[in-house]
Symmetry: C2
Subunit: 326 residues, 2 copies
């Protein structure tokens, strides 16, 4: 097997230059880089990263902890996070927690053992006290500890926009529909309701708040109960705090012969639909998923490199995207 010295000799550069090329260091001229890569190719040199990790006690692996990758919002987010990590020489370990606290903790512990460089996490559980401080972390949509940065969309502004758009589309009796929030983690998502409520108050407009369980079976029972209530059926503008919930509402509404958008305008949140082949194409508050992903990675890398970050929460702007439901 070839050595790094042989590669340096073949390329006519110093050993340190070869090392910089291998580590994707920016301060290498393109033509030097090409020479080194050609020498690596010729000599079939394989730098042993495991050995290097051992020596340096660090890895180039970042873990992404998600409730589930099998969800259009999280898979789009993971797509851009992987892309941004890759551009910066990091690799992504994917962890589906399935919202189970024990699986999240198990992952934190094994990541600790593997000396992951950092973690980007979306957690639904109260794992605050179990997170050891020695792995840099960035969360998305959740506040875990004060010293951990949080990247999120501007949920409050999103809620305000939803109210304004529903009213603009003619709704006089708007309502908010969300999942009963878990007491565990302080979630940014609650601000969607807050923004919606505040905007209505400013207009002196009464609104209704409906919250149902996210469990599949309980959700169906809740919808049945909601549609049995005259008050709920009187809603003419609905803001659901996620697109899948909005779509679920539309389905049930139509089964009750309530027309969308004629009888009730509906706005979701997320913007998961990326084509117009499936209907309803929801009117929605679109999260800046790509920007959230790249910002999370950039913040994490700054933490990994030892920078103290001042600002705690990074709220990125959202926009309203009109579909077929308003």
């Amino acid at each position: 097997m070839s050595s790094i010295k042989q590669v340096a000799d073949r390329a006519g550069v110093a050993v340190g230059t070869v090392s910089r090329v291998i580590n994707n260091h920016p301060a290498v001229k393109p033509e030097t880089r090409d020479k080194v890569l050609a020498a690596i190719e010729e000599l079939q040199y394989i730098p042993n990263e495991v050995a290097r990790n051992f020596k340096m006690q660090k890895s180039n692996i970042v873990a992404l902890l998600l409730p589930t990758i099998w969800h259009p919002f999280f898979s789009e987010l993971a797509y851009y996070i992987e892309d941004e990590l890759d551009r910066n020489g990091y690799k992504l370990i994917l962890c589906n927690s399935d919202r189970k606290p024990e699986k999240e903790l198990y992952y934190f512990e094994t990541l600790n053992q593997n000396k992951a460089a950092g973690i980007i996490g979306i957690t639904y559980n109260d794992i605050q006290n179990r997170i050891t401080a020695n792995i840099p972390m960035v969360t998305i949509d959740r506040h875990v500890k004060e010293e951990i940065s949080c990247v999120t969309s501007d949920n409050y502004a999103g809620g305000r926009t939803a109210l304004a758009e529903l009213v603009g589309a003619g709704a006089n009796h708007p309502a908010y529909l969300g999942f009963i929030s878990q007491s565990y983690a302080h979630s940014e998502v609650d601000l969607r309701k807050q923004g919606f409520t505040d905007a209505a108050k400013e207009r002196g407009m009464p609104i209704r708040i409906y919250e149902i369980p996210s469990d599949e079976d309980l959700m169906e029972t809740s919808f049945a109960k909601l549609f049995a209530s005259e008050e709920f059926r009187g809603t003419d503008g609905l803001f659901a705090n996620g697109d899948l919930l909005a779509a679920r509402y539309v389905k049930h509404a139509r089964e009750h012969r309530i027309r969308v958008p004629e009888d009730v305008k509906v706005i979701g949140y997320d913007g998961i639909q990326n084509n117009d082949c499936f209907h309803p194409v929801l009117s929605t508050i679109r999260q800046p998923v790509e920007e959230m992903a790249r910002t999370s990675v950039q913040l994490l890398i700054r933490r990994i490199e030892g920078e103290e970050l001042k600002q705690e929460t990074y709220r990125l702007p959202v926009h309203f995207r009109k579909g077929e439901t308003t």
Copy 2:
């Protein structure tokens, strides 16, 4: 920091037993396991996997190489692959290749450096000769090298079923719609067309084959050309080789005032829809995604553990799922 010896003393077992517990070895009694885990917890012992990897020159990381995680079929697949790996003590590194050969090769090379335990790959490129033989690999839907096992759905049977279902639903002029196949990798997906064609021949039924580019812009142009042809408009049963293509066809057909399913029955492939909130709910050939994922992982683990695998291609049964388009 505590040592493995201290953990063994605290738990009242041998050092080897602690090691077996850490490595999830099956031959440890549950009560022994609990004692060891309690001692690990008490002493806050952190086994250094980086050091162990260095010593053993192997890792517990498996890489999943996908075109993109931002696709409902691949994200479902990745969900189950991560779950099965996790159950077996492995972690998943996610690689989006974006179908770019250079990114796939880059990943193969860096995985080699990191001494990944194995790779599960869906590749669209001719990287056959660049894959070094020393990482165990399983592919999905693609034949790369003879010695690499391939897990796939029974595409041929799926094609046959699609023809039978279209005819059963009343179609007399069935057609196949697919993407122009890349010459690179010998893809199992081509068997969907073969099964469809063979089943039609056996019935003495003429069919038409349409193949269009998968590039977004070219696809739109191709649809416009197709719908300009009287022959294409005469189709009364269409089998698309993927659900998203089927949905795209339905959208264009409706724009041309062709009713689905009244004028033309449509069947897709994959079964990506996991709810009935978005329409059309496609009639489709459902792939056994969970079983494909778990089988891939099980095969890979057998390879990692040194077993020679005899059978090359594992074709798992599909079934027809009726939706709103037949």
